[in-house]
């Protein structure tokens, strides 16, 4: 059997008696790999001293030039998720995961050539464009498959996979540091070899996901969940999926755009402070928190971000998606509004505790959205609809850091002490979350005229 046949959707249908618990590890293999993107900053300093070796020399790239590698990758993540979501629904998860592994692993290999020949445009093209396409394809590839395998627990299932994306940096960062230390010589920073090695390692790791993932056979339901005369998925879940909506039609509903706003505002509020976490805690508690403790704080936030993806999305299976987002926005707004007070009180414990809770909800927002889409638009095109919704992430990825950085600089320029320069930002974040609360409250059931009718469009 040729490779194309093995990757084909029809050959990835699970045989009778296949355990559905083998599918989440397949999804995790993809998400843990592509989650490395969050740790790309570990390469920034080594890339800026490729000529000078351990110190910058004339001809070395500036950090601003290097910073564009990650930005290009995130832009192409959004673009590919938007573009290929529809293709993924027809091609199946195995082919999409394989394409993702080729792009992500291949992106690293091409980027290693860029380092070897000191050509930044090759790195932009390799890790940024090709790798970014791999990120987008990989991010959405297991979503609808997991929802089909776990009609009784769609939140938990997608939360498991998306937790991997949050945790990928925890593997990628120490792995990159270890490899660069291994390959470092008197004449090389070891980045070329590290890129090539990571490309090969991640490709192999992702292949495990490619060859493990299976689609459930038509009509399959989990044991003990189906009831005679009732649709399997409907009987299995506390929140049954809505009737199917075509991906193109979904974009014409107001529910899609309210959910777009929900994701965008939740991410905007979290991503801006996540990027500023280290200087923020040091400036709010001068003399109390040093650089090492601030790095520990950033690590703690990463753990909270990852665990929240699983915990909150699992809880959403019990209390419902709408209520879960109500909690994110109401509790998040209250905590953000209280953070300046923790600074005034000088309470590091409360500050850290509040931020940990906020970060769990930031991660939870990412992980719960696929199940929310399934509740509103059905299962048929949920992967493709999720891909289109991820444009909200791209917008938030720009808006969040810009808001936090510019407001802080404006405050300091107008004489506000550094310790108090984040107060306005916190209140603004709280306000954004209040708008998110209203948007979520407005997400209603999709009107029947938008439901997919067989024969009117291709499914």
């Amino acid at each position: 059997m040729g490779l194309a046949a093995i990757l084909d959707r029809s050959h990835s249908i699970a045989p009778a008696g296949y355990s559905r618990w083998r599918v989440p590890p397949a999804a995790l293999a993809i998400h843990l790999a592509i989650g490395q993107a969050y740790a790309f900053s570990v390469f920034n300093l080594p890339l800026s001293t490729l000529i000078g070796i351990d110190k910058s020399a004339p001809g070395d790239w500036k950090l601003t030039t290097i910073g564009w590698i990650f930005s290009v990758a995130i832009v192409f993540l959004g673009l590919s998720a938007f573009t290929f979501g529809r293709w993924l629904e027809g091609a199946g998860p195995r082919k999409a995961m394989f394409a993702s592994a080729c792009c992500f692993g291949g992106g690293f290999l091409i980027a290693s050539l860029g380092v070897r020949f000191h050509q930044i445009w090759i790195i932009y093209l390799g890790y940024g464009v090709l790798g970014g396409i791999g990120l987008g394809l990989g991010y959405i590839s297991p979503v609808s498959t997991l929802i089909k395998w776990f009609p009784d627990r769609p939140g938990m299932a997608t939360g498991l996979a998306i937790m991997g994306f949050g945790g990928g940096a925890m593997i990628g960062s120490p792995l990159a540091v270890a490899l660069m230390n291994h390959f470092h010589t008197a004449t090389s920073m070891g980045v070329t070899e590290t890129f090539a090695t990571m490309g090969a390692l991640y490709f192999v790791f992702m292949m495990f996901g490619v060859f493990t993932v299976r689609l459930p056979a038509p009509g399959w339901t989990p044991v003990g969940r189906a009831q005679p005369g009732v649709g399997a998925a409907a009987s299995a879940s506390r929140t049954p999926p809505a009737p199917d909506v075509h991906v193109d039609e979904a974009l014409r509903t107001r529910q899609f755009w309210f959910l777009w706003l929900v994701l965008c505002l939740n991410v905007t509020a979290g991503i801006g402070v996540l990027g500023q976490a280290s200087p923020m805690i040091q400036e709010m508690f001068p003399g109390v928190i040093g650089a090492a403790a601030a790095a520990g704080f950033v690590g703690l936030l990463s753990l909270a971000n990852m665990s929240g993806r699983f915990l909150w999305s699992s809880l959403s299976d019990v209390i419902g998606r709408r209520r879960t987002y109500m909690v994110y926005f109401a509790l998040g707004a209250a905590l953000y509004a209280s953070i300046p007070t923790t600074g005034r009180l000088g309470s590091v414990t409360l500050f850290v505790l509040f931020y940990v809770v906020i970060m769990t909800m930031y991660g939870g927002g990412f992980a719960t959205i696929p199940a929310y889409l399934r509740d509103k638009f059905g299962v048929m095109h949920v992967g493709a609809i999720h891909g289109r919704l991820l444009t909200a992430w791209s917008v938030a990825g720009v808006a969040g850091p810009v808001l936090v950085n510019y407001i802080r600089e404006y405050q300091i320029a107008h004489g506000v002490a550094k310790a108090n320069a984040y107060s306005v930002t916190m209140y603004l974040m709280a306000a954004l979350l209040v708008i998110g609360f209203v948007s979520n409250w407005l997400v209603s059931t999709v009107d029947a005229r938008h439901h997919f009718k067989a024969g009117t469009a291709d499914a």
Binding site: A16, G17, Y18, S19, R20, W21, R22, P25, A26, L28, A29, L32, G164, G167, A169, M170, I171, G172, S173, P174, F205, F208, T212, G219, W220, T221, P222, V223, G224, R225, A226, A292, A293, A295, G296, F297, G299, L300, S302, L303, M306, V352
Partner: protein, 40 residues
């Protein structure tokens, strides 16, 4: 139709979880060790 997993499927499931779980646990351990600096 509902169906029970084949005998031996749980072994494959455990192995699959170990394959992704071990690197993930290593990464988490690295971060936990780094986070400890906050509480010193």
């Amino acid at each position: 139709m509902p169906e029970e997993p084949r005998p031996g499927e749980w072994v494959k499931a455990v192995l699959a979880w170990l394959f992704v779980g071990i690197p993930a646990a290593w990464g988490v351990a690295q971060v936990v060790a780094k986070s400890a600096a906050l509480f010193r």
